[in-house]
Symmetry: C2
Subunit: 213 residues, 2 copies
């Protein structure tokens, strides 16, 4: 997205597949004024996602876009891009969206697609991050907010936060502790991107010194 | 090493290749009574390692064991095992030791060889951890104390601590911030192993519940 200070709330789309707990955290940050954005649209690839009902209750437009209705990732990407562009969406936030977005989608929203992942990437990419962290025996895991690129969980990192792993943790206790941090960190990272003043230098997302103009 | 409460200080060997700043941190923890151990021997694979001179100044026995004097990793391991066993060493702490220890050494000291690594493993194993963390653009790196196994930087993890990565970090500033944590965490992790009451469950190093006997 345009990397400059915004005076009007930035129109977001949030992509979900389930309950959308991070969608709710984003909605709360918007309501509290911590996030200068407006959720213009919530899209789910599953029509029965609980987060869609929550969104409608909030007066947010929703769209179910079942992936099985499309013959390819490219066709799905194109439909999604068209829906988002038609509504003036400028920033896309994945929140438990369990589908790969391909190059077609990523090119349509350069440096404007964000995801939150339940580990300190590059450790434990993929869909089983918490279980893999436990099995590996790490003592520190965490949360990563990153730009989405066609490579899974490998885009430039915007924010990370550490979460301790305890000896008596189960998948549930660790996942819950990480989720609390996701809800805290994700809206803050989105606001940093909206606020501007950053650049991507190689793989590093860095804030420009104040002295630069 | 024997996983039980120790009443006498545990004889350690510290392996170094250079200045041995973690060796000094271990020595300070011993002197302060935070680590119930005695440094019985310091070994370097380089005769000019500055840490050897420091050790002699502390009255600690030193041994230079140049790797180029040995035809193979196995021959080196055997000489090292012999030197350590002859002095009653029970726990081996790597502190910037830039040589691979092979299966011969690891089998001679089961669950009794420790290393400190300047990243949150499994991210960034190997000799360039800080530079790779910077290039990857992580916002959180850290320190890992782990058991040494013949696979490089892949043994069960004893302790980890997170260290923030800043936008203006260089290799030097990040390495320095991580080193401060190494000096804090490594003696504490060694003391946990000496104190006993832990077990290795799969890859996880976990403390036994107090109710277990």
């Amino acid at each position: 997205m345009a990397n400059a200070v915004e005076n009007t709330p930035v129109p977001l789309c949030v992509l979900i597949s389930g309950r959308g707990s991070n969608l709710r955290a984003i909605g709360e940050a918007v309501a509290a004024g911590r996030l200068r954005a407006v959720i213009r649209l919530v899209v789910s690839n599953r029509a029965d996602a609980a987060g869609l009902e929550w969104s409608r209750g909030q007066g947010i437009e929703t769209l179910a876009l079942p992936h099985q209705d499309y013959p390819s990732v490219e066709a799905y990407d194109e439909a999604l891009v068209q829906a988002l562009k038609a509504r003036g969406v400028r920033l896309v936030c994945l929140a438990g969206f369990m589908r790969i977005l391909g190059p077609v989608f990523c090119k349509a929203f350069p440096q404007a697609v964000l995801n939150v992942h339940p580990s300190l990437l590059p450790s434990f990419p993929g869909a089983a991050a918490q279980a893999e962290a436990l099995a590996h025996g790490v003592k520190v895991s965490g949360v990563t907010v990153h730009f989405v690129t066609p490579e899974l969980d490998a885009g430039p990192i915007i924010m990370q936060a550490a979460v301790p792993v305890r000896d008596d943790d189960t998948y549930e206790t660790l996942s819950t502790r990480i989720l609390v941090e996701e809800h805290r960190v994700y809206p803050e990272a989105i606001q940093r991107i909206i606020a501007g003043g950053w650049r991507v230098d190689g793989r590093r997302v860095v804030t420009n010194p104040v002295s630069e103009t």
